[in-house]
C-alpha cells in the first residue's frame, strides 16, 4: 500500500522535474541567441533539413487529402443538390483544421523524430560535452538553430499544404466531377474570411510549430545516452507531439471559433 503511494509520488515528482528541466532548457535556448553572422548559416542549414526535405511528404499528403475531401464532399452534397458548396467545404476544412493539424502531425513524424535522434546521438557520443569543453555552448550552437528552424518551417509547410489541398479538391470537383468552376471559387471566396479563417489557421500553425520543435529538441537533449534511450526518446517525441497538437487544437478551436 505504502509502496504504491510512494510510486505515485515518485511519478509526480518526475513529471514536475521534467517540466522544470524543459522550461529551463527553453529559457537557455531563447536567451542565448547567437550572433547573426554565426547563427544565420546554421539556421539556413536546419531550415533546409527540417523544412525543404519535408516538402515532398507535405505536398503529396495535401494533394491526396484535398482530392479525398472533393470526392467525399461531392457524394454528400450532391444528395442535397448543393454540390456547388464543395469549394467552400474543402477550403474551410483545410484552412481551419486539416491544414494545421495534419501538417503538424506529419512534421512531428518526419522532422521531429529526426531532430530527437540527431541530438540524442550527439549526446550519446559525447559531442555535446566536448563542445562544452571547448567553451562552445551547445544550446546556442546546436539546439537554438533547430528550434527556430522548426518554428519557422511549420507555418510555411502548412500554407503550402492548404494550397495544394484546395488545388487537389478543385482537380476532383471541377475537372473530374464537373462542378461549375465559377461557383466553386465564388462560394469559397464568399464564405472564407481572411482574418477569421486564414489568419487563425496560421496562428494555430505557429503554436504547433513552437510546441513540436520544443518537444523534439528537448527529448533529444534530455534522453538517456544509450541506444535504447535514443529509441525511446524518438518514440516519446512523436507520441507527445501528436497528443499536444490534437489537445491544443481543441483548445485553440474552442477559443477562436466557439461562441462564448
Amino acid at each position: 500500500m505504502m509502496d504504491n503511494i510512494a510510486a505515485l509520488g515518485r511519478l509526480g515528482l518526475d513529471v514536475i522535474a521534467t517540466v522544470g528541466r524543459a522550461g529551463r532548457f527553453l529559457t537557455g535556448v531563447l536567451v542565448g541567441v547567437p550572433r547573426p553572422s554565426v547563427g544565420f548559416p546554421l539556421l539556413v542549414r536546419q531550415l533546409y533539413s527540417v523544412g525543404v526535405l519535408s516538402l515532398a511528404i507535405i505536398v503529396v499528403s495535401g494533394l491526396f487529402i484535398g482530392m479525398v475531401l472533393g470526392l467525399q464532399g461531392y457524394t454528400i452534397l450532391s444528395d442535397y443538390g448543393s454540390e456547388a458548396a464543395i469549394g467552400q467545404m474543402i477550403a474551410l476544412t483545410l484552412v481551419r483544421e486539416l491544414g494545421p493539424v495534419v501538417t503538424a502531425l506529419l512534421f512531428a513524424g518526419r522532422a521531429g523524430s529526426a531532430l530527437t535522434a540527431e541530438i540524442g546521438l550527439m549526446k550519446a557520443t559525447e559531442q555535446l560535452s566536448s563542445m562544452e569543453m571547448m567553451g562552445v555552448d551547445p544550446l546556442r550552437r546546436v539546439i537554438a538553430p533547430r528550434l527556430w528552424a522548426g518554428f519557422i518551417a511549420l507555418p510555411i509547410l502548412a500554407a503550402i499544404f492548404s494550397m495544394v489541398g484546395i488545388w487537389g479538391g478543385m482537380l476532383v470537383g471541377v475537372e473530374w466531377l464537373g462542378v461549375f468552376e465559377g461557383s466553386f471559387w465564388g462560394n469559397m471566396q464568399a464564405s472564407v474570411s481572411f482574418t477569421e479563417d486564414v489568419l487563425n489557421g496560421v496562428f494555430k500553425t505557429v503554436v504547433f510549430g513552437f510546441v513540436c520543435s520544443w518537444i523534439a529538441v528537448f527529448q533529444g537533449y534530455d534522453c538517456v545516452p544509450t541506444s535504447a534511450g535514443i529509441s525511446s526518446a524518438t518514440t516519446k517525441t512523436v507520441v507527445y507531439s501528436s497528443l499536444a497538437v490534437l489537445g491544443l487544437d481543441f483548445v485553440l478551436t474552442a477559443v477562436m471559433f466557439g461562441d462564448f
Partner: protein
C-alpha cells in the same frame, strides 16, 4: 551539399510559403485591396430581417453591389434597421427603389435585393429605402397554409 545551394533552396522554400499564403488570401478568401472608402451608406428598415447578418450580400439585378454593415433594432419604430455599404460606382439607384430580402435557392442564404424603381432622382448617401419587403418566413407560410388562411 554546398552552403550556397542550401541557401538558394531554402530561400525558394520560404518564397513558396509566402506565395501559398498570398494564394490563400487572394484566391481562397477573396481578400481584395479595396478599402471601405469607396462605398457609401444607405439604410433600410424591415419588419423581419430573417437571416440577414453583417457581411451579407446586397445585390441588384443579381449582381453584388455591396454588403450589409450592421443590423440593429430601431427603438422608435421597433423595426430592424439595416445599414448597407453600397459600392461608390453604383450611385444612380432610383429613389423609389425597394429593398427586398430574398433567398438564393430554396435553402440557400438570404441576401438583400434592390428592386429598381423608375424615379429620375437617385438615392443619396445616408438615405433610407422608402419601401421594403421583409424576409419570407417559410414556417409561418406553412402554418397559414395548414390552418387554411
Amino acid at each position: 551539399m554546398a552552403q550556397r545551394t542550401t541557401e538558394i533552396v531554402t530561400g525558394l522554400f520560404i518564397i513558396a510559403g509566402l506565395a501559398a499564403l498570398v494564394f490563400l488570401a487572394l484566391q481562397v478568401s477573396g481578400l481584395s485591396p479595396k478599402s471601405d472608402t469607396d462605398t457609401y451608406t444607405l439604410y433600410a428598415n424591415f419588419n423581419d430581417v430573417g437571416g440577414i447578418a453583417p457581411r451579407g450580400k446586397v445585390a441588384m439585378a443579381g449582381v453584388t453591389v455591396g454588403s450589409v454593415r450592421s443590423v440593429t433594432l430601431d427603438r422608435e419604430t421597433l423595426q430592424a434597421r439595416v445599414e448597407l455599404a453600397i459600392d461608390a460606382e453604383v450611385d444612380n439607384i432610383p429613389a423609389d427603389s425597394a429593398a427586398v430580402i430574398r433567398t438564393s435557392g430554396l435553402l440557400g442564404e438570404q441576401y438583400i435585393d434592390i428592386s429598381i424603381g423608375g424615379d429620375m432622382e437617385s438615392l443619396q448617401p445616408g438615405d433610407r429605402f422608402y419601401s421594403t419587403q421583409s424576409a419570407m418566413n417559410l414556417e409561418r407560410l406553412i402554418t397559414n397554409f395548414a390552418s387554411g388562411k
